[in-house]
Every structure is written in structure tokens, then in C-alpha cells.
Amino acid sequence: MKKLLVYLREYKKESILGPLFKLCEALLELLVPLVVAAIVDTGIETGDPPYVVRMALLLVALGLVGLGFSVTAQYFAARAAVGFVARLRHALMAHIGRLSYSELDALGQSTMITRMTSDMNQVQTGLNLTLRLLLRSPFVVFGAMIMAYVVEPQTALVFGLTILVLSIVVFGIMLLCMPLYKRVQTRLDGVLRLVRENLGGARVIRAFNREEAEREGFAEKNDGLTVVQRRVGRLSALLNPLTFVIINAAIIWLMHIGALQVEHGLLTQGAVIALYNYMSQILVELIKLADLIITMTKSVACGKRIAAVLEIEPEPTTGADIPVLEPGEPAVRLSHASLTYRGAAAPAVSDVSLTVMPGETVGIIGGTGSGKSSLISLIYRAYPASEGVVEVYGQDVSTYALDALRREIGLVPQKAQLFRGSIRDNLRVGNKDATDEDMWQALESACAADFVREKEGALSYMLESNGKNLSGGQRQRLTIARALVRRPRILILDDSASALDYATDAALRRHLRELPYKPTVFIVTQRTSSIMQADQILVLDDGQVVGCGQHEALLESCPVYREIYESQYKKEETNHGC
């Protein structure tokens, strides 16, 4: 929880002033029974109407000042709660942006979204109420106790014992509820996941006529959520009646003592009324406090979930800048590099050694799941190498500042992911300073200029989320342009031409070769035609390197490569063009 409270520091003033004003309001409230006692004991006793009027006006005045205090307090509390949660959301978002890929894999997206939204809402409500009532309620309770002591010291025991019993009940229920609230949020994660899945997979679910089954599955998860919600609801429903019984028991005791004292002439009737009033005040306050405790318990449970993410150690991002390359030095060098994913039984790719000179093109080919994407993810440090060394520009990638390293790399991932917004906005992801001219150049190279030009507004054409209003091939070409617009020193194409027809694919490769800034290019592909001209080709099979060299040589020496090649070019066609 400490992790969270740091963000409250910014609102220190508000979070101190808010409760303080509440306190002042409560202080005024404590005076009310005294004024009433004065009315009864002095005003009525002496039959002095003007005195009664004066005292009544005093009550109104107390109320008015209280209103002022209270409004001020509400404002500060709202400001602090809302501001704190806004900062916390920012912090969590920023933190998620610094987690390593392995951590992201382990967490899952749905839970991050619930933590970012639902949990945050609960924390905000909780803090707001806490700031309003936390100081006030105990203050009123203890204040009432002290005042009662002033009126009649003998009753202190009644008040003291009552408060003790109440605390035990309140905290007991709180402790029982806390883990349940955590369960509620976890189940909410599951419900949220189903909603997201059913939106993203609408086509597949309908194609398989699974709507009914999905509905049932959701109803089941939803029921599971409801069951825990109700269980925790039942538990917290005890708080209010228990408080009521305890307070009334105390009132009975108080009346008993009061009666004895009056009998002995040690107490006046008015004082008994005051004592009773104090006990009633405690009752009113405690019922409010009980609500607060429930809300607080809930938000502490939610806060812990947020803190749990914040406590995950972020990936180290600082480090050296990319140096200028000495002539003759390789741009990328892997030596006996392996990658084993967390929780995986075997390495995804193992013992890869490779030296790439600047401006070279490297082809990486291999079967499905052979470790191609894993291999290149080592280069842009998505995952650290489990074994061996990965060097970029002469230094271990782990020594670089993450931003510095990735600034030099243009990545075109397998999955063509685009954002809601204009084409221009999407290209800016690649390079936020790119001019329209830079963008058109990149689009030309990515064979995307033609179709962008045809869109209404061209660069200003608005894409729906994930670029749903483009075809698969158009999306891929935009993602290539996005990588090119940053003029990267290292360009990585991770099977990113799969949705392109062959003519476009060929044109694209020609454009890449003609790029004036001569990047080092990694092409991950299934097609031998895409990498035939590469300076070196790495052939992977089941995570192992089974061949390395140029096209012709590999055809001779590497059976896997030959098989891939032949699967694409039947004998008679090899003569066709090559």
C-alpha cells in the first residue's frame, strides 16, 4: 500500500485540510447537546423564553458555520480523491509501459484493464469517503465519550467498553470481507475477459454457432461473480444491526447508571438527556462509519491489486546510447544465444550464432513454431537472452538504454496492428517528428502510397480501431510504412508480407534494397522467394539452426531449406523465372 500512498503526496494539503474541516464541523456538532442541556436546565428551569430563543439562534449559527466547514471539506476530499486516482492511473499506465514482455505475458490484458478501470473507481470512492469521514467519525465517537465523561465520570466505563466491543466487531468483519472483495475483483477479470473475447472473436463464435454456449459460459462466470458479491454482501450486512444492538445495550446500561445517580442527587435530568444524546450521536456516527468501513475494505482490496502491479519490478530502461559503428564491425552479432520463455519446458530457440554486417540483408526461414520470431525478439530486446550474447553495434543489447536501442530499430510485427485515428497518426507512431513528405516516402517504399492516395483525405483518412476498415494487405503495408518512416538503422520484418500478393511483395523488396540509408534488414518469412537474394539465410527447425549461408549453397547443403524451396517451386517452375 505504501506504493500507492506516494501518489497522495501531491494532494497533501487537500488530504489534511479536508479531514480538518470535517473535524471542525464535528466539533461544532458536539456542542449541540450542551446547548440543548442549557435550554432544559437553565431555560426551562427558570422559565426564561428569551434565553431559549438565544440558544436556538446559537444552534442555527452553529449549523451555518458547520455548513461552511463541511462544504470546504467535501471539496478538498473530492479534489484529493479524484486527483490522487488520476495520478495513480497515470502511474499504473506508465508502469505497465515499462514492464517486460514476460511480465505482460504472465499478467494478461483483461486483468490490467479491470485494475485500470474498476479497481481505480473503487479506490476513488473509498478515498473520498475516508477523507470525509475517517477523522470525523472517530472524533465524534471519542469526542462524545469525553463529553460524556465531563458530564458524568462514572459513565466513562460504559462508553469505553462500548467502543472497544464495537471496534472488535467492525474490524473483525472488515478482516473477513477483505479477501472476499479481492475474489470479487478477480472474478470480474474473468467476466471482462469474456466480454472482450466475444467482441474480438465475434466472427469465429458465430461461424461455429457458439452464441448460445458463450451465453451459458458467461452466465456461469457471471453467477460465480454474483455468488461472491452476495457472500460478501451478507457478511457486511451484519455490521449495521450488530452496531445497533451494541449501542442500545449501552443505552440501557447508561440509563440504569443515570437513574441511580439521579436518585442519589448526583445528576440532573438534563444531564441524563445529554448523556443519552451523546450515545445517540455515537450510534448515528457508527452507522455511517460502518458504511465507510465496508467501502474502505473494498477499496483497500482494490488498491492492493493495483499495488501488486506497481510492485512488479519494471524492466531496466536506462543505459548507454547506441555508438557510431566502427568500420568493419558487425551491426548485429549473436553468439550461442538461446531464449526460453518463462514457464516453458524447452527453449524456443537455442544456440544461435550469427554475425551481420551493416547494410546486409538476413533471411530467417523455418517451419511454423521453429523459433523465428523468438530469435528476432532477442535483437530488439523484447526478451533477454536466457543464454549467450546478443550484441548490437558492438555492445551487449542489455547495456543500452531501451529507448536508444529501439529508436534505431524499425519493427514490422507479424500481426498488423493499427490504431483508431488517422493514417498520419498511425505513421507518427513510427516517428513522431515525421513530415508529410517523410510519410509519403515511407508509403511509397512500402507500396502503400497508391491506396492511401485513393482514400478520402489521404493521410487524414480515419482508421477504425485495429484498422478494421482496411484489408489485411493494406494493413500490413501501413505497418511497414510505419517502420520505415523512422529511417531505422535496423529493419526487422517479421513475416510481415504474408498478406501481400507476390507482385507487391517483390516490389516491396526492391524498394527496401533501394533505401538510401541502407539499413540492416532482417526478413523473417515462409517464402524462399522473399530471401533468395539475402546476404545470408538462417534456416531454423524446432528452435535449432540447421543451415546458414546463401541461397545456392543452402540448396546444396541444407535439406530443410531445399524442402521448403521445393514446396514452393515445383521442378518445372524453377526454370520458369529464375
Binding site: V52, L59, V82, R193, V284, T368, A503
Partner: protein
């Protein structure tokens, strides 16, 4: 125009959903009445006890004992009733919200795809999750406080009238002030809560998108820029929240002030009555109960006014949730007949289609496919191939013309029976959080493990599945987790292999699979496609060459069709496309 107040219907619709729990609700009301009655009776008893503590030596202990016994019984009864009605309210609330969520979710299954395609998913998620949650909070508070509050007010009024009508009159006269203030504030907060809900949804959409693409953004070092965009929505949310929370929280202090006026009024009037009446019209003990009532009386005003503002929030959220529930669905097909397992004659006649009316995409497309034929659809990207599949599967309906399967217009048969006849593998692989086995068995949940394995073998997915830590029981994360794109496609293919429907649609189904595996899969497909009508979208011409008919599409029209050889010799667009595969550049 921004809605200032809750749409009139929202409350009615909410109540309609509560109706199912009417008996419980009535029971809850009765219990509330019991609880309120006894809690209000206690001050009277205490007042009577105080009345007999006149002065030293003048205390009537037998009366006190009697009264205190009654206090004990009343307190226990009141607490018991409170506990019971809280449990009932708890039950009603969570069941109503559960029903609403279920209702909203089942909508997702019947909404037209055009809605799902064009609405940010985060917004829909926010409705089903956050809005439903907030609604539950408000509803629970409303149930437990509103009745109790209203009954307490009524009860106290009655008790006060019985003790001293004159003083009670003071209370009655001052009451409207309280109500007026609460109304005044509540009517202004609805719009603010609505704005807060919308800002929250906007942020959820962004969060959904950014977290979904987090790895990508990171690879571009753009996490900071995404954060900037996030900060903008965050600031907007902060502002709307602050307004909504602060303004709604004004209700409480304001009513409390009015209450203290009431309290002062009672003290004044009461004391004067005691003085002038000389203890006959009202005793000091009576004044004490009265003051306690004034407190009890005003407390529910606080609560009700708090509840009213909370309810504004709940209603704002409910309105958003209900809007989703009431979204127009696909036209019902319950009156349609079932399409029996098809032979596979598919005809498209004069089909017109566009996603947006202004931009016609497919115009007057005619096509007749005989049962068992293999149709390959080729063409440059964006030519309408995927759209054609949307139409065949009835994800979208044609705007003109018709599509028939075995002579039946597909709009005249149920969607389920139509889709049962198709096996579909899309380029955009979709897997869900769950085991490999569950993912493969999606189309046939009762499949045995042998059948699943067989399908996986046919899709050449078995070997990699066998190498996963728990084999077929390995849980794969959201959206396929760390599986490679190709592996995901293999699983999607296995999914279809398990169902073996009469017709197939393969949209770039093997685009991320290596060609060796693809060749083997194709053999399996070929076996599977025998006698099945199949539509294949592919770029690899090796896949296409074996088709019976190749449709060459461009700009939403079929410009050439025929067999591979016929098209090649025709020397048209297809020939150009085909040759580019081997163009040395």
C-alpha cells in the same frame, strides 16, 4: 443535446427488471417497516424512563426497569429485521445486476457485426463492467436506504404528532426546504454523472487499445506517447469526476444545515411549550424524545438526499447499459426454416453490397458454384475478397440481389443452419484463454480427446502441441498468448478439421504457416474438400492452381474466371499476377 435528466424510461426499465423479485421486495419493505418502527419506539421508551428520574429520591425504578426491558426487546427486533432486509436487498440487487449483465452479454451475440466492427470494444466493455458495477452500488444503496429513510420520516412524523402536534408542526413546515434542496442538487448532477460515465468509457477504450498493443508500442518506444494520449483522457476524466463528485456531495452538508435549523426550531418550540404549558402540554422527557426524533427525522433526509445523488449516478450508468441492451439486433430468423446439410450449390445473383451506402463495393456480382467445386478467389489486396466471405457467411447481408445455397435464399434460412454448413478459417486467428483442447473443440464441444488429436494431427498441429508443457491441457493466454502466428493458424485449422462441415471457407488460412507444413495441410484439406464446396482466398498460387474455378476479383467485381490453364492462356490480369510470383527483381 446533452441529457440533463435521466431519460424518463430508464427508471421504468430498471423497475421492470426488479419486478421479477416482487415478493422479495414486498417482504423487504415489511421488514423495513418493522425495523423502523422498533428503532423509533426506543426513544419514546427512553423518554418515559427519563421522565421518572425527576430528582434525587424521586426515581421510579420499577418503571425504568420495565422501560429498559422494552428497549432491549425493541433493539433486538429492529436489528433482526434490519439484518434480514439487508440480506434481501443484497440478493435483489446482485441478481438484478447479474440479469442485466447477462442480458447485455447475450446482446453481443445477436448484434449485427457492423455494430461490433464500428464500435470501440473498450466502450462496450466499460458498459458491461464499470457501468453495471456502479449501477449495482447505487441500487443497493437505494434499496437499503430509500425505504428505510422514507419510512423513518413517516414514522417519526406520526410519533411526533402523537407527542406534541404543535412542535411537530414546526418540523412539518420546515421539511419542504430539505426536499427542495435535495431535488435542486440532484437534478443538476445527472448530466455530470453522465459526462463522467462517458469520459470513463472513452478512457477504457483507449486503455483497451493501448494495452492490446502494448508490445508494439514498446517496440517503437512509443509507450510515452501513448501515455500522453492517455493523460489527456485522464485529465478529462479527472475534471468530470471532480465536478460530479463535488456537486453531488453538496447535498449532504446542505440538508444537514437545514436539519440543524429544524433541530433548533424543535428545541425552541419545545422549550417554549414546556415553559408555557408548565409541563402539562409536554414534559422534559417528552422534549428529549422529541429532540431525538428531530435527529432521527433529519438523518434519513441526509441519507435520502445522498441516495438521490447516488441514484443519479446509477441511472446514468444504467442508461448506458440499457442502450446497449436495446441496440437493434440482427433481424430475428426464428420464422426461417433450417437449411439441411447442404450439397453445396451456391449461387450469387446480381449481388450489390457496400459497407457504407456512399461507397459501393460489390456491384452486380453473379456467380454459380456447383456442389463440390473448389473456388479460389484471387486479386489485389482490397478487391473485396474478404467482403465476399462476409456475405457468404451472412456476417453482413447483401444490399441488392441474392445468395442461395442449394436453391434456398440464405436470408430465408436460419443463420445457425447456414453457418453450420460452413467451416471457416480466417487470417485473423482468434483463440481464447483456455486449454488447447477447448480451443480445438470449439465447434464440437463434446468431441472426444481422440477426435481432437486426430484433427490436430490432420492440421499438423499435434507435434507442437505435444511439446507444450501440458500438451492438450496447456492453457494458452488471451489471444493465443505466446504461440506464434503460424501455430495459432494451425489450431484454427484443427478446429475446422474437427467439424467437417459440407462447405469450407478459407481466408488466407495458411498465410503464416510455413510452406512445407502448408503442403501437408493442403493434402489434408484436399482430402477434406473432396465433395465439399470450398472458397479459398490465398496469395500462394500453388494453393490456387488446384482450384476448379479461379475467380479473379478487382475493385469488387469478378473480372476473370476459369481454370488455371484457361486463365493463363487468356493472358489477362491473372497471368500478370501469376508471373509476378517468379519475377526476378
Amino acid at each position: 443535446m446533452a441529457a440533463k435528466k435521466a431519460p424518463r424510461g430508464t427508471l421504468g426499465k430498471v423497475l421492470h427488471r426488479v419486478k421479477r423479485y416482487m415478493p422479495l421486495l414486498i417482504l423487504s419493505l415489511l421488514l423495513t417497516a418493522v425495523s423502523v418502527f422498533f428503532s423509533l419506539y426506543i426513544p419514546i421508551l427512553v423518554g418515559r424512563a427519563i421522565d421518572v428520574m425527576v430528582d434525587a429520591g424521586q426515581v421510579d425504578f420499577s418503571v425504568i426497569r420495565d422501560m429498559l426491558m422494552q428497549v432491549a426487546v425493541s433493539a433486538l427486533l429492529s436489528a433482526l429485521a434490519t439484518w434480514l432486509y439487508s440480506m434481501i436487498n443484497n440478493r435483489i440487487t446482485f441478481l438484478v445486476v447479474r440479469d442485466l449483465r447477462n442480458e447485455a452479454f447475450s446482446r453481443i451475440g445477436v448484434l449485427p457485426l457492423s455494430y461490433i466492427d464500428s464500435h470501440p470494444h473498450g466502450d462496450i466493455v466499460s458498459r458491461v463492467i464499470a457501468d453495471a458495477d456502479q449501477f449495482a452500488d447505487g441500487l443497493l444503496l437505494g434499496f437499503s436506504r430509500f425505504f428505510a429513510g422514507a419510512l423513518t420520516i413517516l414514522g417519526t412524523l406520526i410519533f411526533m404528532l402523537t407527542i406534541q402536534p404543535l412542535v411537530a408542526l414546526v418540523v412539518v413546515l420546515l421539511t419542504p426546504l430539505s426536499l427542495f434542496m435535495a431535488r435542486f442538487i440532484a437534478s443538476r448532477t445527472y448530466a455530470m454523472f453522465r459526462a463522467q460515465s462517458e469520459a470513463r468509457a472513452e478512457q477504457t477504450s483507449l486503455v483497451d487499445e493501448v494495452i492490446g498493443a502494448d508490445k508494439l508500442l514498446r517496440a517503437f518506444g512509443m509507450a510515452d506517447e501513448a501515455l500522453e494520449a492517455f493523460d489527456q483522457t485522464n485529465e478529462r476524466l479527472r475534471k468530470t469526476s471532480l465536478r460530479a463528485i463535488f456537486f453531488s456531495s453538496l447535498t449532504n452538508p446542505t440538508t444537514r444545515f437545514i436539519n440543524s435549523v429544524v433541530y433548533a426550531g424543535v428545541a425552541l418550540a419545545g422549550a417554549l411549550v414546556v415553559i408555557t404549558g408548565g409541563g402539562i402540554a409536554m414534559t422534559v422527557g417528552g422534549l428529549s424524545s422529541f429532540l431525538s426524533y428531530a435527529n432521527q427525522y433529519t438523518k434519513p433526509f441526509n441519507e435520502i438526499s445522498g441516495v438521490i445523488s447516488e441514484l443519479q449516478n446509477a441511472l446514468a450508468c444504467a442508461a448506458r447499459l440499457l442502450a446497449l441492451i436495446e441496440e437493434e439486433t440482427e433481424p430475428s430468423d426464428s420464422a426461417c426454416t433450417c437449411l439441411p446439410p447442404a450439397r453445396g450449390d451456391v449461387t450469387l445473383s446480381h449481388v450489390d453490397f457496400s459497407y457504407v451506402p456512399e461507397k459501393p463495393l460489390i456491384r452486380d456480382l453473379c456467380l454459380a458454384v456447383d456442389a463440390g467445386k473448389r473456388i479460389a478467389i484471387v486479386g489485389p489486396t482490397g478487391c473485396g475478397k474478404t467482403t465476399l466471405i462476409n456475405l457468404l457467411m451472412r456476417f453482413y447481408d447483401v444490399r441488392g440481389g441474392s445468395i442461395t445455397v442449394d436453391g434456398a435464399d440464405i436470408r430465408a434460412v436460419t443463420r445457425h443452419s447456414l453457418r453450420e454448413n460452413y467451416g471457416m478459417v480466417l487470417q485473423d486467428t482468434w483463440l481464447r484463454y483456455g486449454t488447447v483442447r477447448e480451443n480445438i473443440a470449439m465447434g464440437k464441444p463434446d468431441a472426444t480427446i481422440e477426435e481432437i488429436e486426430q484433427a490436430a494431427r490432420a492440421a499438423h498441429a499435434h507435434s507442437f502441441i505435444a511439446r507444450l508443457p501440458q500438451g492438450y491441457d496447456t492453457v494458452i493466454g488471451e489471444d493465443g498468448g505466446s504461440l506464434s502466428q503460424g501455430q495459432k493458424q494451425l489450431l484454427c485449422i484443427a478446429r475446422v478439421m474437427l467439424c467437417l462441415p459440407p462447405m469450407l471457407i478459407l481466408d488466407e488460412a495458411t498465410s503464416s504457416i510455413d510452406t512445407r507444413t502448408e503442403l501437408r495441410i493442403q493434402k489434408a484439406f484436399a482430402l477434406m474438400m473432396q465433395g465439399r464446396t470450398s472458397f479459398i482466398v490465398a496469395h500462394r498460387l500453388s494453393t490456387i492452381r488446384e482450384a476448379d474455378v479461379i475467380l479473379v476479383m478487382k475493385d469488387g467485381n469478378v473480372i476473370e474466371q476459369g481454370s488455371h490453364e484457361a486463365l493463363l492462356s487468356q493472358g489477362g490480369f491473372y497471368e500478370k499476377l501469376y508471373n509476378s510470383q517468379f519475377a526476378t527483381v
